[in-house]
Amino acid sequence: MKYSITTFFLFLLIFNPINGKGEENTFDKYNSIILLDSTAVSVTSKGSGSFAIYKKIKIQSVAGTLANRIIKYDYDPLTASAEFRTATIYRANGDVVNLDVTAAQDYVAPARAIYWGARQIMLEAGRLAVGDVIEYEIAKKGFTYALLAKNEDDSRFIPPMQGQFYDIIPFWVEQPTIRKVYQVSIPKEKEMQFQFYQGECASSMRCNGEQNIYKFAMDNISPFIKEPNMVDLFDAAPKLMISTTPTWKEKSLWFYKTNEEYGSFASLPEAQKKVNELIYGKNSEMEKIAILTHWVADNIRYSGISMGKGEGFTLHNTKMNYTDRCGVCKDIAGTLISFLRMAGFEAYPAMTMAGSRVESIPADHFNHCVAVVKLSNGTYMPLDPTWVPFCRELWSSAEQQQNYLPGVPEGSDLCITPTSDPQNHFVHIIATNKLDKKGNLKGEFTITAEGQSDRSVRRIFTLGWQSDWMSTMEKQLLDISPKARLLHVDWGKNPKDYQSGPIKITFHYEIPDYAFIGKNEILFKPITMNNLYNQVRSYLYINTNIIERKYGFKDACSRLLKLDETTYIPKKYTIVETKNIPLINSSAASFEGSILQEGNKIVIHQELALKKRVYEASDWDSFRNAVNAHKSFEDAIIIRK
């Protein structure tokens, strides 16, 4: 598509912004307005969908012109195809420009970590002006998508769970939207379940010959206003879920069957040799499960190459995984399942959704794959080798309160992982310091940590450059004060060995001029509250000045923080204010703490327990009170003669 340079004058219209009309007026401040966002799906008896995707956008600012200068759409060529049908620009001055859709580019998308050949189609709209309206239609065909050429082999578009159709449709928007419509036309014989969550829409069902037509629409949708650290938008904003699959159990059975039939977990002599070597001398089932899970977690790296047909929902087989030593979550889980089976366990894959809730309607709302192993007591235990490299856990507590669906022979309903006791992720700092009259501090502290806290503290040793170990240790002190001097650090014999027990590091240091010196006063901050190991205190990244929350919120993990700091102070000095906060406790969080003087010692003790990873909005008060009580210990302590 070519323009003459005279079209330049069109964009001078930016200096004359055009006001919207009617409902658009309230949306004037936005860069663009979606006038219509419509998706119409026609589902075949085999479950494949033909999608007609239509959008009409009004440009309202220079930023809006730049954001829409190209139209881009992603698709997976293994299961879908997509093409532009029409694209038109209605210029603010009345001109109409029909874009040449045959000039659209279709190419392999940029990629990192997952190299399955995902593609994009792109059409260049070029220089737009404020007031322009752009509309386009994309035809897409595939599992969840649409249409296209008549004579090609359509088998690749048939969903792996043949005959079934599902879709997950976010109804929240980033740009104000005048109307959003989703319509699905489905053979009458298919029973479809649907539910609209976290909002309301206009819905209808009409019979049209051999098809039932379901329609869902919302008008005048404002962009969703997010809260910091809130749960995923899928858990808070309007969404539509539809599925023809009756129950999760059927999906579970299908997942089991698919991978068994492909032979994902067939044994392999060289892998069997490795399994035998790993479990040699391990007597209990948990010892065996642990050694196999951690070997896979640490040694099958995350980098996904395609197996071709079946990629995306089939776990690579043992031969491919063990030879490649890489894959995405499903292939890492697949390796573990093969290993467990070669060690005599019954193990299966499971699908999960990292980041948001899975609803009771069996739409495939999954983005991650894990494993389950059957224990001798008959129960299934979830294992996630992708999320536990260099961490002693077998199921990452960064995935607490997460739904998963095991693909087991007897079928399964949706399961959920429990919360993990904060004690499982404790971090404990014990510091002993001596403060002199000039404000110089000399002392030592020891940090020990377990679970996800251990993983964070130990990370420099397991996944950092060895040449950076010492400078990183020094940085921990420089975060307290640039004047800090690291005298000695003891990280034990082999801090890389995360299996040996909780990490333990002891620092010896001095900090000249640490305290603020008055005529009769000395002020100092507890070092345990002065930027020390903030990386493990994920709750510090949650703004507790916010008074109310509308939505649930998330921390990285449940956690127990224990701080014990003793500071020897110069003789004849007395603390101006002691502090004692007795236990405040709730189902979400607890805190207790004190600052006391015992002779020439200032003794500080704190214990903060944050009990969940995903919190309800109603947990906010107790979470916030506990964290704010803890943060009040950041204030400088005043001692005076």
Partner: protein
């Protein structure tokens, strides 16, 4: 010869020869790395890279070397993989399977339809384990005419050390090739055969790239090589400049005139054009080498609303030129001094210099808030004529005076301050030097921004005490990251400028408050600079003076401790606050 250069050279020789003696534990190591650049008589070129890389730790295996990424232009270049396999610790060979060679769009070419044909070959190295060695050998063969000349700029250190590193140039005998070595003394071997001239460097035990911040070739810490068959800087730059729109391009003239229609002065016109270029285009991050040293003309850029860096320079320069504003497109290099040879790959960035009313304007087409030239920029050369250009030095002085009236609830400060033109942008859209200033007055005099105004800040009393922090500015040198750098440093450090800052606070203490901070005077005067912090009380008035001057912009490794001493004192929060007691 600079003593620093001699010292760096000795250190590098020692590093090359003694690395194995003083070796740090290895995460990975190149057993062999060989790079060859061949220029054929017909103008075609081949770049060949061959490596044997052994992995020892998980950061190397899981997160660093799992994939190799190779960008090329399939229209003009052919990528040939000679060998790709992994040798596992027990000797098992795992050939890279076909599905582990994946071609994708380079991220830098995203959203740029004109460059959508570029490719990035991702080679996923399979069979990796601790102790495994990756063997990869590939060539990129460019058709005659695609690459204008043999032109390379290479900083040697890799993420991991290299046992045996060879760099080879192969050019027709009758072709003149020049090179410049940076910070390494090893002489190449030169051989001739069959009308081919071959130049070869062999480096043993090359240490890994330093992880210290702000380490660069131009500061003497990184060994590197510049090679070019261009006869001169002008010839090299002409490759780009010849693709610029012609001077006084009538179409650009139309655009520029429309943009500046309502502008009254030349400065207004300059501002209007810069505003248009910086706000109404998306930036494409492809480098000149990724686009084959090609650029689209301004018409295409205007119509598509995006451009690469050099395309945007052409547009900005062309628009200024079209309305007779004296402007020059400038290439800034990765090194400070004029080398023996010039190519295009040694260029770090491009900018446009404009001159109005005897003032030099440093303009970037992607960001109009960038202020003047920091003095560590590097060698600057005019694209039009290949001549070296001097960037006008700017003032980095800050003075700040605050007259403060204190109560137990708040303080009110009357502030008068000046900021050197180092900090000020050309069109008054400065960042907020003094946040929350009310009744502010600003004027520009003698290359300085004068800012006056009032501040009111609440104070919190606790247990009868008030801790008051001094107001300051967002552009103080204390905001630089140097105080948090590690205590030891083996490398030199170039500062963006030499700060001269002075802050004077006069605080009037009310009758119901007493100052608890004793008078003091702390002075440091060393090789690198000087610092003064003083507190002086007279009756109910306390005067605080804080000043710093750094005399050396180039901090040699030997001076680092003295520099750090000044920085940590200057950033010390205890030196930036006073304690008061409330009298009930």
């Amino acid at each position: 010869m600079d003593t620093n250069y001699i010292k760096s050279t000795i250190i590098l020789i020692l590093a090359f020869t003694c690395n194995t003696i003083f070796a740090e534990p290895l995460d990975a190591e190149y057993q062999k790395l060989a790079e060859t650049w061949t220029l054929h008589a017909n103008g075609s070129q081949e770049y060949r890279r061959s490596m044997e890389l052994t992995l020892y730790t998980h950061i190397a295996m899981n997160y660093t070397y799992g994939e190799t990424f190779i960008c090329y232009n399939p229209k003009y270049q052919n990528l040939k993989i000679h060998t790709s396999y992994t040798k596992q610790k027990d000797g098992t060979i795992i050939q890279t399977p076909d599905n582990a060679f994946v071609e994708v769009l380079p991220r830098n070419a995203e959203n740029a339809p004109a460059y959508n044909h570029l490719k990035e070959m991702v080679i996923v190295h399979t069979g990796l384990e601790l102790g495994a060695t990756i063997f990869l050998d590939y060539s990129i063969i460019s058709k005659p005419g695609y690459l204008p000349e043999l032109d390379l700029y290479k900083e040697f250190p890799q993420i991991s050390p290299v046992k045996n590193y060879t760099l080879t140039l192969s050019v027709p005998k009758n072709k003149s090739v020049g090179y410049e070595q940076f910070n390494f003394p090893i002489k190449p071997s030169v051989s001739y055969s069959d009308n081919i001239q071959q130049i070869r460097w062999e480096i043993h035990n090359l240490p890994a790239k330093s992880h210290a911040p702000m380490v660069s070739l131009k500061d003497g810490d990184i060994p590197g090589l510049l090679v070019s068959t261009y006869p001169s800087a002008k010839d090299a730059l002409q490759t780009l400049y010849a693709q610029f729109n012609a001077p006084k391009d009538p179409q650009l003239q139309t655009v520029a005139e429309a943009l500046t229609e309502n502008s009254k002065t030349d400065v207004d016109r300059l501002h209007a054009i810069l505003d248009y270029v910086t706000n109404q285009y998306s930036t494409c991050r492809l480098s000149i080498s990724e686009t084959g040293y090609r650029l689209r003309n301004a018409d295409a850029v205007i119509n598509s609303a995006y451009g690469t860096e050099i395309e945007m320079i052409n547009l900005l320069y062309g628009l200024l030129n079209a309305i007779d504003i004296d402007a020059q497109p400038i290439a800034v290099y990765n090194f400070n001094n004029e080398p023996k040879v010039y190519g295009l790959n040694g260029i770090k960035e491009f900018l446009v210099l404009a001159y109005l009313d005897n003032k030099q304007y440093v303009l970037y087409p992607t960001n109009k808030k960038i202020t003047g030239n920091f003095k560590d920029k590097g060698l600057a050369i005019n694209l039009c004529n290949g001549e070296t250009t001097i960037l006008t030095p700017l003032s980095s002085d800050i003075t700040y005076q605050a007259e403060i009236d204190l109560t137990s609830q708040n303080y009110k400060a009357s502030i008068a301050s000046t900021f050197g033109n180092q900090f000020t942008s050309f069109f008054g859209n400065n960042i907020d030097f003094i946040p929350k200033l009310s009744n502010s007055q600003k004027e520009t005099q003698n290359n300085q921004e004068i800012i006056k105004g009032e501040l009111s800040t609440p104070l919190k009393e606790k247990n009868g005490y008030i801790l008051m922090s001094f107001p300051s500015t967002t552009v103080s040198f204390s905001g630089m990251p140097y105080a948090s750098f590690n205590t030891g440093r083996k490398e030199n450090l170039m500062l963006p400028y030499c700060p001269i800052e002075k802050y004077v606070y006069t605080i009037h203490i009310p009758e119901n408050m007493d100052l608890c901070t004793p008078d003091k005077e702390k002075k440091i005067d060393n090789n690198v600079g000087s610092l003064l912090v003083s507190i002086n009380t007279k009756g109910k008035t306390v005067k605080i003076t804080r000043s710093i001057e750094i005399k050396k912009q180039f901090i040699k490794a030997d001076d680092y401790a003295e520099f750090r001493l000044l920085m940590t004192e200057w950033a010390d929060p205890n030196e930036q606050q006073l304690l008061f007691k409330c009298i009930k």
